[in-house]
Each structure stands twice: as C-alpha cells, then as structure tokens.
C-alpha cells in the first residue's frame, strides 16, 4: 500500500512520456486525483509498509505528503488550461517529468532509511530538471545548469553526511537498521563528534536544495525560468521535501542530547536566509524572482523556528503548510500575469486592478497571506515562532528576525503596489481571458489556508503535535 503511492505515479509518468499531447493532459489530472485519493487513505489508515526498513508512515511525512498531493491535484487542473494558452515544445516530456517529479517527492515523504532519503531527494532534482528547461532558451539552459550542478554537488555533501552518520554508528558499536526512527531510539549511543559533523554536512547538503542562504543561488533562477505550474510545485513542495531531510536529522540530534548545537546552527542559517532575501527583495525588478526570494525568506523562517524548538517548532510546521498553499497559488497567479502582460518585468506590468480583476484578488490575497497578515496562517506561524523565541530567551535573534520581516514586508508591498495600481502602458492589450480553471485553483488554495487558520481538524492538529513532539513542540 505505502509503496504503491510511489509506484503508481512512477509508472503513469513513464507512460505519459510516450503519449501524444492531448491525452497527456488527461493523465496528469487522473494521476493527481488517484494520488490524492491514496494520500487520504494513507492518512486515515496509517498502514505499515512492505519494506519497513526503507519506508514508513511518519507524522511529518504524512503532513508533507498530503500537502504535495493536494497541491499537485490543483496544479494539474491549472496546467491543463495553461497548456492551451501557451506553446511548449515536447509537451509529453513536460507532463511526464511532472508526474515523475510527483513520484520522487512522494518517495521523499515516505522514506525512513537515511540513504533512501538521499536517493529520493537527488531523484527530485533529476526529475525536475527537464521542467526548468521547458522553454529551451539560453536563460532556461543557464538556470537548469546551475540548478543541476549546484544541487547535485550540494546533495553530495548530504551523502557524505549520511556516511558520517554510519561512522557514528560504527564508533558507538550499535547495530540497528539505518533508519531515522531506529537511530532516534539509540541516538544517545552514537559518537557525538561524528554525529555533529554529519548534521552540519546534511544541513549544508539538503539546505542547498531547500534554498537556505548562502547556498540559495540557484533558486531564483530556477523558479523564475520554469513555467509557472512547475514553479508552483518547485517552490510549494520541493523545498518542503528537502526540509524533511533536515527535520528528521535534527530529531536524531535532539534525541542524542545535541539539540542546542543543531538548534543554534539552524537559527544562524535561518537568519542568514531571511537577511539575504530582504536585501534582494527591495530592489527586485522581476515578479517571479520576487516570489522566489520570498520562498528563501520563508524557508529561513521555517529553519529559524525549528532551531528555536518548542512553540517555535509548532509555528515552523504551520508556516511550512501555509507557505506551500499560499506560495503555490502566487506562482500560479504569476503565470496568469505573465500570459496577460507578456513580460516578467515588474515595470512592464501595472493596473492589474482594472485589467485582470479576478487575478488581482488571487494576487493580492496571496501577497497579504505571504507577508503574514492575520486572516492567513503564516501570521499565526510567525507569531508562535516569535513568542517561542522570546520564551526561550533568544532576545537578540528574535529582534533581528522581526526587523528583517518588516523590511521584507516593505519591499514586497512596494513591488506589489506597482503591479496592482500603477499606470500601465496605454498601448498594452491583455490577450488573456480569465478562465475559471486558471483562477479557481488559486482561490481554493487561499481559501484552504484561510480555513485552516480559523478551524483546524483534530486529526491534523494531532499529527502536527506528533511530528514536533521530540522537539518539545506544542502549545
């Protein structure tokens, strides 16, 4: 059952490579619905896998899986409409890679074995590379090259870190399966020095993929050059997958009594990412890159919250879920803006409020959500992180954190106002009709975020609490 959720999209993805155009789009939606159905079943039943050594259903994995599945389903619907509006060479490769990408991400969420986790995360890089290269332009080639090379080299560091984890086991004379859950139980016997080295390497490795500064350089290029549905997936869920690797390793560190060490490093990397994002958001000229830097900021917030622990860790998971929902909706909206105005530059847009009113609602609500305005979940997540930071006595870093968030908000607001209200070129004609299938996916994502903020189902709350229990999370 568990493995089937990985295998089904894998096979369908391979089939999609060989199908003609139109049927590929159907396959995309069908895969999305099947996957969503399976994920919900997994959530309800929580079965044991056939290969328990490699795969298992963990609370944090389930959370990510459900987000991935829900998002992919909506993105699939949007994509079918998007592909009618725009021309893409070799559409079967695009659709096939998208489904394979789903399969590899599912594998990340379900893997429990350290090396299998690595294999899955590297596989996500490979499956998503063709997505970024879809337009076959010079810029997209550059973005893809940077993406594949920087991420592969970065993730190679994580492999080295995983090998060090094995060494820490050897030195501690323990013989358990090489899985995160087994290692967490015997964490106290692991050799602490090698465990620390392993954590740093894994953080640098998966941190590269997650977009933590200073290893984030590939991210704005890749997210801005990919077609918008692919950007939504890259930003919305791929970054979460990389975070999962760090999160699980951090659990081992905490079980080993080295939580202070790993927490401090996470806080430093988190703050660096937020500061880096703040510098680039203020003077940004392209809206998709603006969103990409905002992803770096949010990943920084999540790493920061995880490092704080306790209430902060709970806030980090909330931010993780809501960032996926809101950011993917924003990237889909940016696809509409790109189709309407035909340019990625902020200066070439304007007057969105008159020209594309339905898109405006999605864009502005998304902007409010991502900047941490009250009706959306990121507000609650960030508030928990700040309270958690003050409770644990991190006064200085919490202050820096708050100030950078203000700077980012100012920068982002300035750009968002330009897009929505400033005067557009008079000769500009919008060649884009706002179809329901290109508007409603964004609305649904935003409404979900809104609902989750006001009312969270008991089972979801319990799963989050289970996931952060080791980090001392909870209200």
């Amino acid at each position: 059952m568990v493995e089937f959720v990985i295998l089904a999209p894998f096979l369908l993805g391979i089939i999609a490579f060989f199908l003609p155009k139109e049927s590929g789009r159907t396959i995309l939606v069908v895969t999305g619905s099947i996957h969503l159905l399976f994920s919900v079943t997994l959530w309800v039943r929580r079965p044991v896998s056939f290969l328990p050594e490699y795969f298992s259903v963990t609370p944090e994995g389930l959370l990510s899986l459900l987000v991935i599945s829900f998002l992919f389903f909506l993105v699939a619907i949007y994509t079918t409409a998007y592909l009618k509006e725009t021309k893409i060479q070799s559409e079967n490769i695009f659709i096939g890679s998208m489904i394979l990408f789903l399969s590899t991400m599912t594998m990340v969420t379900l893997s429990d074995h350290i090396m299998v986790m690595w294999i899955a995360i590297e596989a996500t890089t490979l499956a998503s590379a063709p997505l970024i290269y879809t337009h076959r332009s010079k810029a997209s080639l550059e973005a893809t090259w940077k993406y594949v090379l920087i991420c592969s080299v970065g993730i190679a560091m994580a492999l080295l870190g995983s090998v060090f984890l094995v060494l820490a086991m050897d030195l501690g004379n323990i013989d358990v399966p090489l899985s995160f859950s087994a290692l967490s139980q015997v964490a106290k016997q692991l050799d602490p020095i090698w465990l620390k080295a392993a954590f740093i390497l894994i953080l640098v490795g998966y941190g590269t993929k997650m977009g933590l500064a200073p290893m984030h350089t590939w991210l704005p290029d890749a997210h801005s050059e990919a077609p918008s549905p692919a950007s939504a997936l890259l930003s919305g869920v791929l970054l979460n997958c990389a975070y999962l690797g760090i999160f699980k390793t951090n659990k081992i560190m905490i079980a080993a009594g080295l939580g202070d060490f790993s927490g401090t490093i996470l806080i430093i990397f988190g703050l660096m990412s937020i500061l880096a994002a703040a510098t680039f958001i203020i003077k940004q000229t392209e809206y998709k890159r603006l969103l990409a830097y905002s992803s770096i900021e949010n990943m920084g917030i999540i790493a920061f919250g995880t490092g704080i622990g306790g209430l902060g860790a709970y806030g980090a998971i909330l931010c993780l879920i809501h960032h996926s929902l809101i950011k993917s909706s924003l990237f889909l909206t940016s696809g509409n803006i790109l189709l309407g105005y035909g340019s990625g530059l902020i200066d070439k847009t304007g007057n969105l409020v008159k020209l594309m009113p339905k898109t405006l609602i999605a864009f502005f609500a998304g902007f409010a959500g991502i900047s941490g305005f009250p009706p959306f979940g990121i507000f609650i997540g960030e508030m928990f992180i700040i309270i958690g930071a003050f409770r644990t006595g991190h006064y200085v870093v919490a202050t820096v954190f708050i100030i950078s968030l203000c700077v980012i908000f100012a920068g982002f607001a300035n750009q968002a106002m330009k897009i929505t209200f400033s005067d557009a070129d008079k000769h500009l004609s919008i060649k884009f009709t706002e179809k329901a299938s290109m508007i409603w996916p964004q609305y649904i994502l935003l409404i979900t975020s809104l609902i989750l903020c006001l009312w969270m189902p008991e089972t979801l709350y319990k799963t989050i609490i289970d996931a952060v229990a080791v980090i001392g999370g909870g209200l």
């Binding site: 590379a129 076959r136 090998v163 399966p177």
Partner: protein
C-alpha cells in the same frame, strides 16, 4: 605494514596531481575513468568475506563508474568537438602545488581522525579525502563545463571511497540506487552540454552569467 590495496590507491593519489596539471579534457577523462575503476575494486580488497553479491555489485559499479560515465562524456566532447582546453581560473603550476599540499594535509588529517574500522589499508582514508577535495577544487577552478562535470564525478568517487571504509550496514540495493542517481545526473548534464554548445557556441561557463539577483 604494506597492504595490497595501497598499491593502486597510491596510483590514484598520483592521478590527482596529473588531473590538476592536465590542460586538456581527454586526459582528464582518462584520469576519472581510472579512478572510477580503482574505487569500485576497493571493496574486493578490504572485505573479509566476499559474497557473490559484493563481487557482482563491484563489477556493476566498475562498469558504470569506470566505463559508461567516462565514455558518455567522451562522446559529448567528440560531438561538440570544440576547443578542448579546461580554461583554468587558477593556473596549472599553482594547482599542482595546491594538490601536493592537499595530499599532505589529507594524510595528516586522517592520522588525527583515528577511525578504528580502517585496519586493512593505510592509504584508504587519505585517498578518499584527497579525491573528494580535489573534485571540489576542479569544480571551482575550471570554467569549462565538461571539466566541472568531471570534477563532480571525482567528488562522487571520493564519497564512495569514504563509504566503502565503513559502510557495512548499507545494502547493495541502496548503493545501487545511489549509483543510478549519479549516472542519471551525469546523463542529464551531458544532454545539457550538447545544448550549451549549440546555444552558446562553446561550453565555457562565462556565458552562464546573465541571470543575476
């Protein structure tokens, strides 16, 4: 004490110096192929009880690391038939000197590390560290995109060598998965190299600096 595996490992150490000094891509590829073969044979020397699985897996690794990957990169070079220099950022003499320092430092560090499970070879850990760092060095100091891929491969070889030192826990199926990922990664890079030649008329990464901020 001298162990049999140390003979070939010392050759690998020499090959690192050779790769730092080589200005042409074909030479660099041969070095990578040689390293790939040696690295995949190491488990056969250091394992105490050889199973069919180990032998079979070593052979598959050897074919992929030593033959398939170098050959595919070689084919790319042939196809794009361009200026075959590696376009260094740091000169060859300086690189060679850095290589020497690297080997000494690796030997020094691995003495200090005192890893107990390495009892069958004196050179294993120093070699692993050396080619790992050497791979990164090539990645950073060569502007030619093909040389960068080769640097990545060298780094992967180093990690594999670190892994063989003590990975008695990992199963072959898992290691095979890792190998498959590396192979697929290099293949994707090879495809991009071909397109790069078409679009930019060369594989110098100077062309890849238009996306900023």
């Amino acid at each position: 004490m001298i162990y049999s595996v140390d003979t070939i490992l010392s050759l690998v150490l020499l090959s690192v110096l050779f790769s730092f000094g080589s200005s042409r891509l074909p030479g660099l590829i041969k070095v990578i192929a040689f390293q790939g073969i040696v690295v995949s044979l190491v488990p056969l020397f250091i394992e105490h009880d050889l199973t069919t699985g180990t032998i079979l897996f070593s052979l598959v690794t050897m074919v992929i690391r030593g033959i398939v990957i170098p050959l595919s990169i070689h084919l790319v070079i042939k196809k794009v038939s361009i200026n075959r220099g590696v376009e260094p950022i740091i000169g060859f003499h300086a690189s060679l000197f850095a290589g020497l320092i690297l080997i000494v430092a690796a030997a020094f560090v691995s003495h200090r590390l005192n890893i107990p499970s390495v009892s069958t070879s004196a050179l294993l850990t120093p070699t692993a560290i050396t080619i790992l760092v050497a791979g990164m060095f090539i990645l950073m100091t060569r502007r030619n995109a093909i040389a960068m891929v080769l640097g990545y491969m060298m780094m992967e070889n180093g990690i594999y060598l670190v892994g063989t030192t003590f990975s008695t826990h990992a199963h072959h199926i898992v290691e095979f998965g890792i190998l498959l990922d590396v192979l697929a990664g290099v293949m994707i890079m090879a495809i991009m190299l071909r397109d790069m030649k078409q679009k930019f008329d060369g594989v110098d990464t100077v062309h890849l600096r238009n996306l900023k901020e």
